[in-house]
Amino acid sequence: MGAKDLVRDASLRLIKGRGNSRERRMGLKDLIIAKKTAILKRWFDMILGTYPEETSNHLRKQADPFANPISHTISKGIEGIFSTVIEGTDIESAFPFLDNIIKLRAVQDSTPSGAIAFILLLKKAIREELKDKIHEGVIYHELLALESNIDEITLLCFDLYMKCREKVYELKANEVKNMTFRLLQRANHNL
């Protein structure tokens, strides 16, 4: 299954999930958009919190994208994902961002759960940021709907993660093939 198919499937799921809650969710959406910077920051910090302290300090420096590629990839990535989930942008636009982060996590983590957990941290970031509102109970339903969206994205993450892992195994397998291509070609030629 190609990348496009993955996106389409997920888009369908996402649209279905949105359906009836759309109008009522406006209140929550506005709230979240108003707190976008704070939520993103919280989320970013949570993700960096999954790295050792000695490292996360380096990552936290908003450095030049080339001197600090992990930090750059994550911060750009979560921004893009945020827009999709909250602002209701087409999921296709989030795909490259998701892809970037998952690619990174897929070779950084040795467990699948660890690799895709970052997306679920968004739920936590939103809950913490909107703690008061949630306690008031007014946005409870909308929140559930939103979290379902995040669940959908999580499924997409899992697909992407598997694709990355398959890629890594493919690369491993190709390593020998590439090295000896000319030899095989020659051997065949000689037959």
Partner: protein, 538 residues
């Protein structure tokens, strides 16, 4: 309801921040981060110590009884032999300038991949046995004993360094982690602790002269297969010679150019160029390998494997040596070869037979880099080039660590690329030239089993390529290193699909208009030239 781990707990599983100081945190061997241990047959083939079956992941490495003694004696010997080693053990002030300069640290986030800490792993042992303060104050002076855990850690991290020297550029004292890693690996080799991927090529190279163990007739046959391809593409039959005495020039290139794509296309480029010039050169089937995995094993092994270079030049009575595109081959040639096997009084200062340029900056080594050779040809207008044949490419250039920081060859390949391509764009300034990021697979780390490590280590490089891919539509990553050609390919495949990898002389081969050639319809890769191009040529 059963208590499930929360997302942040889950993701923390692998990134548990070390609560203790690093000295007390043993290395955790992660899947995909280490290479297989060397098989005994390779060690036996070159008479190296402690051949046996062993697995790095297991607790018993089957070390000799007195391994500590061997390790420490080796340590002491090298402190006496290398000022660099002694000095670099002593003068680091741990300022941290190098910390975020290492591609492995940037890509893995493992604090022990900071160059300073990688060196401290060994320094702590040094302090314990070789300094007064360490002997007196022990842990307080940052000293620790060599234990099996420490040895495992040294091994794990010595093979997570590609000896690229980027940290050395930023260190106020020029402390070169490559030098430390090289010596650390030498010490590990005293105990038979090499990787299979490094030791295999070493053993093969000793017997046959090349990494894959190609025998002389196979080398000839492989090159002939390229000759056939060239004929198909250009209609011109090239006739390379092998082990021919009295040729003017001995041409040596890494054997990766012979058997692995896309290196083979680079090799076709060399041969087309030489044919077009009517160059009087020969291949040597023994010195058909410029690469030297001995450098990643021990100084002595590197020296043994490099012996054939001058020996073959002498036997074949050539005047000088022309070297192909390779990174660590040129580091070895530039900084070690003549010291080991000189003087070279049987050779002459290289002179280009085409332009008459005397390469007097290599009057002692008597070897010219092919990028210098070709740049000189182009400067003198000796080549008929049609760069528009490369118009389907948008090219960027990756400086290889060894030629960048162990030699300083920056302008020559760029001069060539600008003349054979119409679309050339540089990557960001802090990722090229002396600040270039490693491919992540150098120094014998380009195995298959450590692919995750390679992908992470190569991430900073890929990230910069991605930038130019996005902004300029770069689809070709040119370089002058055989390991790059092999390693950047999967790296691009993973991080920046759509970007291919090539040697500079593949681009030359594509652009070179040869006398009497037929109308080209394909590239050197035997892929059809884009339509627009075909029309123009009608």
């Amino acid at each position: 309801m059963a208590k499930l781990p929360t997302p942040d707990e889950l993701s923390k599983i692998n990134y548990k921040p070390p609560e203790k100081r690093w000295v007390n945190t043993p290395a955790e061997f992660k899947d995909g981060f280490w290479c297989f241990g060397t098989r005994p047959k390779y060690l036996q083939a070159v008479d190296m110590p402690n051949p046996r079956e062993w697995k790095p992941i297991e607790d018993d490495w089957k070390l000799p009884e007195n391994w500590k003694e061997i390790f420490l004696e080796g340590f002491a010997e090298r402190l006496k032999k290398y000022r660099s080693f002694r000095l670099f053990m002593d003068i680091c002030v741990r300022c941290g300038a190098c910390a975020d300069k290492c591609h492995f640290f940037l890509g893995t986030g493992d604090p022990k991949n900071m160059p300073v800490l990688r060196a401290e792993l060994l320094r702590s042992v040094y302090r314990n046995y070789f300094t007064t303060s360490g002997k007196l104050l022990g842990k307080l002076a940052g000293a620790r004993e060599i234990t099996f855990d420490v040895l495992r850690e040294l091994w794990y991290y010595a093979f997570q360094c590609t000896e690229c020297r980027r940290c050395s550029v930023f260190c106020p004292y020029g402390i070169d982690t490559a030098e430390i890693t090289i010596i650390c690996r030498e010490l590990l080799n005293l105990l038979g602790l090499n990787t299979d991927w490094t030791m295999g090529p070493v053993a093969n190279c000793y017997r046959t002269g090349n990494h894959l163990g190609l025998e002389p007739h196979t080398i000839k046959s492989i090159i002939e297969s390229m000759v056939e391809d060239i004929e198909t593409i250009t209609g011109i039959k090239i006739e390379p010679t092998f082990n021919r005495k009295g040729a003017e020039i001995l041409f040596i290139t890494p054997s990766g150019d012979l058997f692995g794509d896309p290196g083979t296309y680079t090799c076709m480029g060399y041969m087309m160029l030489f044919h077009e010039l009517g160059l009087n050169y020969t291949w040597s089937t023994l010195a058909a390998e410029g690469g030297n995995f001995g450098l990643f094993t021990s100084n002595e092994m590197a020296k043994k494997l490099a012996y054939k270079i001058y020996a073959e030049a002498k036997r074949l009575k050539v005047k000088w040596i022309l070297g192909g595109e390779c990174g660590h081959m040129w580091r070895v040639w530039n900084q070690y070869l003549e010291t080991w096997h000189g003087p070279t009084d049987f050779l002459e200062t290289p002179v280009s037979p085409i332009t008459g340029t005397k390469f007097d900056y290599t009057s002692s080594l008597k070897a010219v880099h092919i990028a210098e050779f070709t740049a000189d040809l182009i400067k003198h207008g000796k080549l008929n080039l049609n760069p528009s044949r490369n118009d389907y490419l948008k090219v960027t250039f990756h400086d290889s660590c060894n030629t960048a920081r162990g030699m300083g060859i920056f302008e020559e390949p760029r001069h060539i690329i600008r003349n054979v391509c119409n679309h050339f764009y540089e990557m960001p300034e802090n990722t090229i030239r002396e600040q270039t990021f490693c491919c992540g697979s150098g120094s014998g780390l380009n195995a298959g089993e450590n692919m995750e490590l390679r992908m992470r280590g190569g991430f900073p490089r890929a990230n910069a390529v991605k930038h130019v891919h996005k902004h300029y539509g770069i689809n070709m990553l040119a370089n002058i290193c055989a390991i790059d050609r092999a390693a950047l390919k999967p790296l691009m495949d993973y991080w920046v699909p759509g970007v291919e990898v090539c040697g500079v002389h593949e681009l030359v081969g594509n652009a070179l208009v040869m006398k009497g050639e037929k109308e080209r319809t394909t590239t050197l890769r035997s892929e059809p030239l884009p339509e627009k191009e075909a029309k123009e040529n009608v």
